[in-house]
Amino acid sequence: MSNSNVERLLFYANEQYSQFVRGIQESISIDPERFEYIAELYFLWALKARGDDAIERSFDAFVQFTTDVNFAQARYEANGHYENKSFHDVYKKHYSQKSQMDDYLWGVYLTNFLWAHHLEISIFFEDRFLSSLPDAPSIVEIAPGHGGWGVWALHKISNADLLGFDISPSSIEIASSIALAAGVNDRASYHEQDAMNLVDLEVEPKDALICSFLIEHLEDPIKLSQ
C-alpha cells in the first residue's frame, strides 16, 4: 500500500486493535488496487466531514460495531434468539440514540471496504450497478445510513441526482455531511422517513434504486417490496 491514509489506518489498527489487522489484510488481498481506491475515497470524505482524527475515530467505531455484530451473532447461536425482541426495542435502545447512532454509522461506513465481503459488494456496486445507469440518472436511496453508496454514485456520475429517505436523524445528518465533503450536496437531498411508509409519498419516477443492508433491519421485509 503506497497511500498514507491506508498506511495510517494499518498503523493505528496494529497499535490499538491487533486482532483486527488480519481482517483488513484479508480485505486488501481481495483486490489491492480497488481496496486502496475505495478506501482513499471514503477516507477523504471522512476527513473532510469529521476532521483530522476521522480515520482513528471512525476505526474505533468500526471496531465497536464489528464486535457488537460478532457478539450478537455468537449469543444468538448460543441462545437461539437475539437479545432484542422487536423493532420497537431496537429503536428505543439504538436507532433513537444519537451518539450511539453516529458511532454506529461511521463504523458501518468503514465496513464498505474493511470487511472483505463488503468490499466485494462495493466492487460489484461500481462495476455492475453504477456502470449500467442511464445518462443523468435520477436515483432514490432507501435507508442510506451513512450515505456512502449514494454519494459514491453522485461522485462517479456528475449529472446524477439523489433523493434519500432514512428513519434515523443521525443518518440524515451524516449522509448530508458526507455529500458536502464529496462536493455533491447540491445534487443530494435526504429526508427523515420510515422506509415502510414510503408508499404514502408522492415521488417522481426514478431511474434507479439503492437499498443496501436494510432488509435485515425490518420486521416485515415483504411489505417493503409491495
Binding site: N14, Q16, Y17, S18, Q19, F20, V21, R22, G23, V63, Q64, T66, T67, D68, N70, F71, A74, R75, A78
Partner: protein
C-alpha cells in the same frame, strides 16, 4: 491454579494448541489465528470458564492478555 494459568488453558482450547503459553504482553500479533472473530469466541469461552459476563464495549478495546486478565479479575 492462578487466573493466568486458567486463562492459558482457555487459550490452548480456543486456538487448539497445547503448546501455546500466554503472558501479559501476548497479543494478536503473537497468535496467528487471533482475529476479530476468534476474539469473540475467546471472550465467550472466558465467560463460561470464569462464570462472568462481558459487555461488548468492555472487550472491543482489549489489545493483549494483560488487559483481558485485569478485566477478568475485576469481575471475580
Amino acid at each position: 491454579m492462578t487466573v493466568l494459568n486458567q486463562l492459558n488453558d482457555v487459550f490452548q482450547g480456543v486456538f487448539e494448541d497445547d503448546e501455546l503459553f500466554v503472558n501479559r504482553t501476548t497479543s494478536a500479533n503473537d497468535i496467528e489465528d487471533w482475529d476479530s472473530l476468534m476474539h469473540v469466541n475467546l471472550i465467550l469461552t472466558v465467560e463460561k470458564e470464569f462464570g462472568i459476563r462481558f459487555a461488548s464495549t468492555e472487550v472491543s478495546r482489549l489489545n493483549n492478555v494483560g488487559q483481558l486478565l485485569d478485566l477478568i479479575e475485576s469481575k471475580l
